[in-house]
């Protein structure tokens, strides 16, 4: 009789990073063969760059893998501080240098025009004078600050800094959304997701993927329309970046406050449809053309219920400016627009579904249906161009999640009402370090960008969850759902909301009482649903052996 190892069932299937006896090489090995790239200098430079990248990575990776958690938290906190500090700096500049009481009379307290030949702004010496007038700073500090703050007085410089921040956001959000999607997808599918690159749960996976995509061969298919093929990715990412221009992250954290921000974002997201059509058509590939046609049908059809669902909170608040809509929800959980009347509650759901179709996410991801069209409209794209489409999609996902948060879920306000924030007013007024802490606590507890990010990230999680749970819907069923289900539904909701708001403008106290009762009920339903998510997760975690079975749970290391 043969004897086999009786523990083979319970041996982990992977050599996992926690197993001390099985530490694999962490670095994703990529070797770059010598490719003649034209002039010798190009090749040398390329090799040099790659060498530097590998050196950096081999030095940085062990450090990161040890302190990954610390670095992540530090990065988040640091970003918040940097964002907050820049507003401090700008505020300081505006108050003390460009305006304020210590100035000659008649000076207009406005920043200078962008740039004009006649006045090149305040010279550093003038700034020095005003800084010293502001007081409270040592001579040496003022001497340095006069040069540091000189460029900040120009709107152009501020806008460049802001655009840089937007560009950075546009890059970082997809990178981490992609990493997170792979982890969430892995966990849903009873596996782990990226675990190796960088060390701690594969945090650097997206960076490794980015390097790999950069190094790929740049293919343009034969007989493809070269100009259109090359420019289509740009038509995809520019609208996504533009959407960030109008998106507010806080009461005073936005690049531009447009009074028609909502319509602007809808408009630029509509231009993204063209990029998909161009990409599909220019590839000279029947499968890409199919994908492009389907995608255009789908995105354009769903813009109608999308816009109408977005109009519903606008009707409630009376303004298309996202800042105003966000500010209207500052009084805690029950002031959030989603609970204002049952029609908006349903409109949130219909908006979410329509927005899923608008960014071609599952279950509406027919244009990228792998099993049917290989990759749909971006079949022929590889390397950097494909990653541009990918980034545009994830950035658009974030934008619609942020829109949902601002319009329905209270935006950057926490569930606690702002009227309770008076606790910290005393701290803020006393200035200095206590003022800083007070402002920080206010931002953390009551109203700040971190709440918007949290809600948007939660909605991103729901989008990822839906993608990996539901099968794909066929194109005719997609269009049926849009035109025969969602469109009439949204029209009815719009009608209902209008009537509700109209009824609220009357002075009837009975209606006011009815309205507040309904709001409370909906708010309670919302609380129950919000609490249901973590409780189901906790229940699932503690009962996983009973629900999934011992064999599967033991097969996954670290569980």
């Amino acid at each position: 009789m043969r004897w086999i190892d009786s523990a083979w069932y319970h041996k982990p299937l992977l050599h996992y990073i926690d197993d001390p006896g099985a530490r694999d090489v962490i670095v994703t090995r990529f070797s770059v063969p010598w490719q003649p790239r034209g002039p010798v200098s190009n090749g040398i430079i390329a090799q040099g760059v790659i060498g530097v990248a590998r050196l950096t990575y081999s030095v940085a990776a062990p450090v990161f893998s040890r302190f990954a958690g610390l670095i992540l938290i530090g990065a988040v906190v640091g970003t918040c501080l940097a964002v907050w500090a820049h507003s401090l700096i700008f505020g300081f500049v505006d108050a003390h240098i460009l305006g304020g009481t210590a100035f000659p009379a008649g000076y207009a307290a406005q920043p200078f025009a962008y740039f004009s030949p006649s006045t090149w702004g305040l010279s550093p010496s003038v700034i020095l004078v005003r800084l010293e007038a502001a007081g409270g700073l040592g001579a040496a500090m003022s001497g340095v600050l006069q040069y540091l703050t000189w460029p900040v007085q120009f709107g152009f410089v501020r806008d460049v800094i802001g655009l840089g921040a937007i560009f950075g956001l546009f890059n970082i959000i997809p990178i981490y959304t992609i990493w997170w999607e792979r982890k969430v997808a892995g966990r849903i599918q009873s596996r782990l997701g990226p675990m190796r690159v960088g060390g701690w749960h594969g945090w650097a996976q997206s960076f490794a993927d980015g390097i790999k995509l950069l190094l790929k061969e740049d293919l343009v298919p034969k007989d493809a329309d070269t100009v259109l093929f090359r420019t289509a990715p740009y038509f995809a990412i520019i609208p996504s970046i533009l959407a960030f221009v109008a998106l507010p992250f806080g009461t005073s954290y936005m690049f531009r406050e447009l009074d028609v921000a909502l319509v602007f974002i809808l408009g630029v997201l509509g231009v993204e449809v063209m990029s998909v059509i161009m990409a599909g058509w220019a590839s000279n590939n029947k499968w890409s053309i199919y994908g492009a046609m389907r995608e255009a049908c789908q995105m354009v059809s769903y813009e109608i219920p999308l816009s109408m669902s977005l109009l519903i909170p606008v009707v409630c608040v009376g303004s298309m400016s996202l800042t105003t809509v966000g500010e209207a929800q500052s009084e805690g959980w029950f002031s959030w627009l989603a609970f204002s009347n049952p029609f908006i509650f349903a409109a949130f759901v219909s908006y979410f579904i329509a927005s899923l179709a608008s960014v071609k996410r599952a279950p509406f991801d027919l244009p990228e249906a792998e099993s049917e069209l290989v990759a749909g409209f971006h079949t022929e794209y590889s390397g950097l161009r494909w990653s541009m489409f990918f980034f545009a999609e994830y950035a658009a996902m974030f934008v619609i999640a942020a829109l949902a948060s601002i319009l329905f879920l209270g935006g950057w306000h926490s569930p606690l009402p702002m009227s309770w924030a008076g606790v910290f007013d005393g701290w803020v007024a006393s200035g200095g370090m206590l003022g800083l802490v007070g402002a920080g606590m206010k931002g953390l507890l009551f109203s700040g960008p971190i709440w918007l990010m949290f809600k948007a990230v939660f909605l991103l999680y729901v989008q990822i969850w839906l993608r990996w749970t539901l099968p794909r819907v066929r194109i005719d069923q997609v269009l049926y759902a849009c035109i025969q289900v969602l469109l009439p539904l949204t029209m009815l909701l719009l009608l209902g909301t209008t009537l509700w708001v109209w009824a609220s403008t009357s002075d009837s106290s009975a209606w006011a009482m009815f309205d507040s009762i309904v709001t409370r009920i909906l708010g309670v339903i919302g609380i129950v649903m919000a609490l249901a998510f973590p409780s189901i997760a906790v229940y699932g975690f503690y009962n996983r052996r009973r629900l999934v079975g011992n064999l599967a749970v033991d097969a996954m290391p670290g569980s």
Binding site: S6, Y9, S371, W468, L470, R472, R474, D476
Partner: protein, 407 residues
């Protein structure tokens, strides 16, 4: 075959004339029909389940005609059978339907045993039934998982493969291989079950049985999945019999036929199990728009067959007794001057082997009737006037494995 050449020529004409002026007349008439396109799906395609090439004639989103082109995986297996003794040919049968290798081995072994009049000892028969049914479960898991993947449900695929990994671990303990086992051989099985294997198998069955209701909740009764597969690719029972379909395709169309009941082999007559047949007016949980003979029925027949396989394995494990593993008189086996055709119930249908012996140790002709080959014949009949997205739904429900289509 003329039809195929005709389509090929049209394709050449279109490709050689890229600069075609816009047809002004068509635009003026307000005719909004798109032109017909010849689209090629495969042979390398994520959803054609192997190297299958489907040439589709489409008008916009509607598929008007389908012609499958096969032969990409042809490896001359039948010709090779004319130069090897049967026990050496067993590994070639593995590679025909590589997802149900145990069943392939069993088919060939039963054919040779019938030809030579060998008697398989009872223990070997029971072990054969156990591994064959385990392989049926594994094969159906692949079928269900990939079908869900074709429909865009990524997660059930991984759950099915997680379960299948455990079956493959069991097989690896038995014979050392995970996919092509060559375990069932002429006269019995090659090696004995290792220590503790029976307990492990029972542990696995206890773990697996509740999973099937999980899959039903996640995939089978999922509204979107039902909408994509119900009433798609309906095959009537007469068509099924006329085209020679077998297996879940036949039973999904309502024909009551399972070789394990009709012509049992390897002791199948001793086991109690049901055979799922699609019938109108089924149980309450069947979705409303399902029709007998559509893709969903075929898929669900496979789900139910897995439950029955678990039943059979449990009975077999209980009946396991000590004994011999191989028949007697296997050394120097000579095939009589006779011919035999034996079919067994593969997960995909009825796999048949025709063996003609001529008195020597090597057969003079081996022919394999691959169930997927016959199932594929109905593609052209059924993929007419469907949407493009329905083609993977239909082909996926046929569960073809190109290894046994091309051999």
């Amino acid at each position: 075959m003329d039809h195929a050449y005709e389509i090929g020529m049209t394709e050449t004409i279109l490709q050689s004339n890229p600069d075609v002026l816009i047809d002004h007349e068509r635009v003026e008439q307000g005719d909004l029909r798109t032109e017909e396109m010849l689209v090629n799906m495969g042979p390398q395609h994520p959803s054609t389940h192997g190297v299958l090439r489907l040439v589709l004639r489409t008008d916009g989103e509607m598929v008007l005609d389908t012609v499958p082109h096969i032969g990409y995986l042809h490896r001359c297996a039948e010709k090779i059978g004319e130069s090897l003794p049967p026990y050496q040919y067993i590994p070639y049968t593995d590679r025909m339907d590589y997802l149900a290798a145990m069943n392939d081995n069993q088919a060939f072994a039963v054919a040779i045993e019938r030809l030579c009049g060998l008697e398989v000892p009872p223990r070997a028969q029971i072990i054969r039934v156990i591994v064959a049914e385990l392989n049926r479960i594994a094969s159906h898991l692949v079928a269900l998982g990939t079908y869900g993947l074709d429909m865009g449900a990524f997660t059930p695929f991984l759950y099915c493969f997680r379960e299948r990994e455990m079956i493959l671990d069991l097989f690896e303990a038995v014979c050392g291989a995970r996919l092509t086992y060559s375990y069932i051989t002429v006269g019995g099985v090659r090696e004995d079950l290792p220590d503790g294997w029976v307990d492990r198998c029972r542990e696995y069955l206890d773990y697996f049985e509740p999973k099937i209701s999980d899959y039903n909740n996640l995939l089978s009764f999922n509204h979107i999945f039902v909408k994509r597969t119900a009433n798609i690719g309906v095959i009537s029972p007469d068509d099924a019999i006329a085209f020679g379909l077998t297996g879940p395709m036949l039973r999904g169309s309502g024909v009551r036929f399972d070789l394990r009941k009709v012509a049992p082999y390897d002791g199948y007559e001793a086991y109690e199990f049901d055979v799922p047949i699609a019938r109108p007016g089924g149980v309450d949980e069947i979705p409303a728009n399902v029709v007998v003979g559509d893709s969903w029925s075929r898929y669900y027949v496979r789900v139910l067959e897995m439950i029955q396989s678990v039943r059979i394995i449990r009975q077999a494990l209980d009946r396991l007794e000590d004994g011999e593993l191989l028949a007697k008189k296997l050394k120097g086996l000579k095939l009589p001057d006779d011919e035999v055709y034996v079919e067994v119930e593969n997960p995909r249908g009825q796999l048949g082997f025709y063996v003609k012996g001529d008195g020597s140790a090597i057969p003079s002709r081996v022919k394999a009737r691959g169930p997927s080959f016959c199932n594929l014949c109905i593609t052209q009949h059924v993929c007419r006037d469907v949407l493009l997205a329905d083609v993977p739904a239909i082909v996926g429900s046929m569960d073809v494995v190109m290894g046994e289509v091309d051999r």
